[in-house]
């Protein structure tokens, strides 16, 4: 390790500034969320959480993540596999498309679905004629969530798989393995940690997404409110305990994700060190 070259006071000033920033902008608000949620005691906290509307919001959020995350897992792995293992026309277009949801505001992401499925939208008349409702239902929420979260898994896998190259897969092919066997026995074990990491981030975003979901949800209580939307409604109605109780669940989820992520990082680092 290099000996510190800056004078002591410079180092301590920098560290203090960073600490103050983090405390003021991250730690304090987080503590406040839990403090507000528990202000009226544990029983009020649990009553707020078991309120039918809150409970419906929690269930809808879990459902959304349960559908969006596996779909994006499949999409992400297929896209990363196709991009890194094959050469085809339109490859760079696909890479750009994967990044699109990152560069577009989530509100626009939601608006796209309004333009597609709304009454005046592309499929609007047809959907109306066949009496199918998509906008303002959980289906729209799930679609919007998939749109917003679909880069997460693919983006995590692409650099990893690019670095690993195609040689192990080719070796498996020459040894007579089928496409599925190659994926199961060679590719998947090599990317499992990266995959888990991507799924974790994807899940956190799927549960926390506000903008896109807000546009397509219609805010029907007990039906199309996810946790973040529920928090907003409750807050606007001055039901602070209810708002902060649900918010504390979301914050808890973020903390769990963070801890899992750092554990993963530690595991990955240890594995790296094993390579001479």
């Amino acid at each position: 390790m290099m000996p510190p070259t800056e004078p002591r006071w410079v180092r301590y000033t920098l560290i203090t500034v960073a600490m103050l920033f983090l405390t003021g902008l991250v730690v304090l608000p987080l503590l406040l969320v839990f403090a507000e949620a528990l202000r009226q005691g544990l029983s009020a906290y649990f009553t707020a959480l078991t309120d039918p509307d809150a409970w419906a919001a929690i269930k809808l959020t879990l459902l959304t993540a349960a559908v969006a995350v596996p779909l994006n897992l499949i999409f992400g792995v297929s896209a990363a596999w196709a991009i890194t293992k094959f050469d085809f026309k339109g490859k760079s277009l696909l890479i750009t498309l994967i990044d699109l949801p990152f560069s577009v505001s989530p509100v626009i992401g939601g608006l796209i679905f309004v333009l597609l499925f709304g009454l005046q939208g592309w499929f609007g008349p047809w959907l109306r004629a066949n009496d199918i409702q998509i906008l303002f239902t959980p289906i729209a929420i799930i679609l919007a969530t998939i749109f917003v979260t679909f880069p997460f898994v693919a983006r995590e896998l692409l650099p990893l798989m690019q670095e690993q190259g195609r040689q192990e897969e080719e070796a498996a092919r020459v040894l007579g393995a089928s496409g599925w066997q190659i994926f199961r026995r060679v590719t998947l074990p090599n990317i499992r940690w990266g995959l888990l990491y991507g799924v974790l981030l994807c899940n956190a975003r799927a549960m926390g997404e506000f903008g896109a979901v807000s546009v397509v949800s219609g805010h029907i209580r007990g039906e199309t409110n996810t946790m973040p939307l529920h928090v907003e409604i409750m807050y606007n109605e001055y039901a602070f305990t209810g708002a902060f109780a649900v918010a504390s669940l979301l914050a808890l989820l973020a903390l769990v994700t963070l801890v899992a992520k750092s554990l993963l990082d530690a595991v990955l680092e240890r594995r790296e060190q094993r390579v001479p």
């Binding site: 020459v174 040894l175 393995a177 026995r185 074990p189 094993r274 001479p276």
Partner: protein, 351 residues
């Protein structure tokens, strides 16, 4: 397994890697494909394995056209340049992979898989590394494991891409000798790709020299060295001197002086009159001290079995001469001395 390649053409986008390659590989032969980088040698090997599809041409294993066969159906063992061992599997599981992925009907029972893998690890002398992972092995050990893995499926043909490329010089020589013994023992048709001429000439029964996607010459190592077919092979294999020369009435002249009658000069083509280049190996140039000679000694190296002398002719060409050293070193030329040169053999190529 005889392999017959005819009219093989392969391009990648606008780049043509192979311009029509014809090649016969005999059963049980150890063959080297030798060429500089970009000569298409690895592409040819990958086409043989089925890892690439040719744009035109056929590949036959025995009498069978394997063009439509997937790599797994060709009965080939392939050793990759960087080994491509499965990094998350132990040495044992790496070698067992080819047997484990077989359909249930043809998969050997577990006990037999164990025996086969252990036998192979014995054969390649890494049986003490069974439970290690690839990242815990040295380069030479990885190479041996990769070879055992390729042999596990009992292939008819063994293909190796730069098998010693990533190893240091000492391990390389050791493994080279070991591979030659192994080939002698197994008698399997073996093709390896290399850019190292010494490796190819030392190891192979026959060598294919490739340059820019074409076969330049095929022959036994000595044939290639003593009778290169063209300027490319001459330059690529071994050291060579290039003298400006001309051809008059069937005699090659260097600097207007006809070279000795006794010299064995090959003429490429049937031309009678032309200017061109005379390729001469260092050991086919002789020098004698001569105060009126055409060249001046510039450097002398006394190390090894050969006396290596560098001379400069009066028209500014630098030449290398090799003279076998006797028990005594009485006749060592000194830098600055003038010498006369004599050509004892070579190849004339018209410009």
């Amino acid at each position: 397994m005889d392999i017959t390649v005819s009219g093989l053409i392969k391009g990648f986008g606008s780049f043509t890697a192979l311009h029509g390659v014809d090649l016969d590989i005999h059963n049980g032969e150890l063959m080297a494909i030798l060429g500089p980088s970009g000569s298409g040698k690895t592409t040819l090997l990958r086409l043989l394995a089925g890892l690439e599809q040719p744009d035109a041409g056929t590949i036959r294993f025995g009498a069978k056209d394997v063009g439509g066969n997937l790599p797994g159906d060709r009965d080939v063992g392939f050793v990759f340049q960087h080994y491509a061992l499965f990094r998350h599997m132990s040495v044992f599981e790496n070698v067992a992979f080819g047997l484990r992925v077989r359909p249930r009907k043809t998969r050997p029972p577990e006990a037999e898989i164990r025996k086969r893998v252990n036998d192979l690890l014995n054969l390649v002398q890494v049986d003490w590394l069974t439970n290690r992972y690839p990242s815990q092995l040295s380069g030479g050990q990885r190479q041996r494991v990769a070879l055992a893995r390729a042999l596990a499926i009992e292939p008819q043909v063994l293909l190796l891409d730069e098998p010693f490329g990533a190893l240091d010089a000492k391990v390389r020589r050791e493994l080279r000798r070991w591979l030659r013994d192994l080939h002698r023992r197994l008698g399997m048709t073996t093709v390896f790709v290399t850019h190292d001429q010494e490796e190819a000439l030392d190891l192979a029964d026959r060598v294919v020299v490739m340059g820019q996607g074409r076969v330049e010459q095929i022959g036994a190592p000595q044939e290639l060295y003593d009778a290169p077919a063209n300027a490319f092979v001459y330059r690529f294999l071994g050291e060579t001197n290039e003298l400006q020369a001309s051809l008059h009435a069937g005699r090659v002249r260097v600097q207007n002086a006809p070279i000795a009658e006794a010299a064995r000069i090959d003429l490429s083509g049937a031309i009678k009159e032309a200017d061109g280049t005379l390729f001469v190996r260092p050991h086919l140039l002789a020098l004698t001290p001569d105060p009126t000679g055409v060249a001046t000694v510039t450097h002398v190296s006394l190390v090894g079995a050969m006396l290596r002398v560098e001379v400069e002719t009066h028209d500014g060409q630098n030449l290398h001469v090799e003279i076998p050293r006797g028990p005594s070193i009485d006749l060592v030329p000194r830098p600055g001395e003038r010498v006369s040169l004599m050509v004892r053999g070579g190849l004339f190529v018209a410009a």
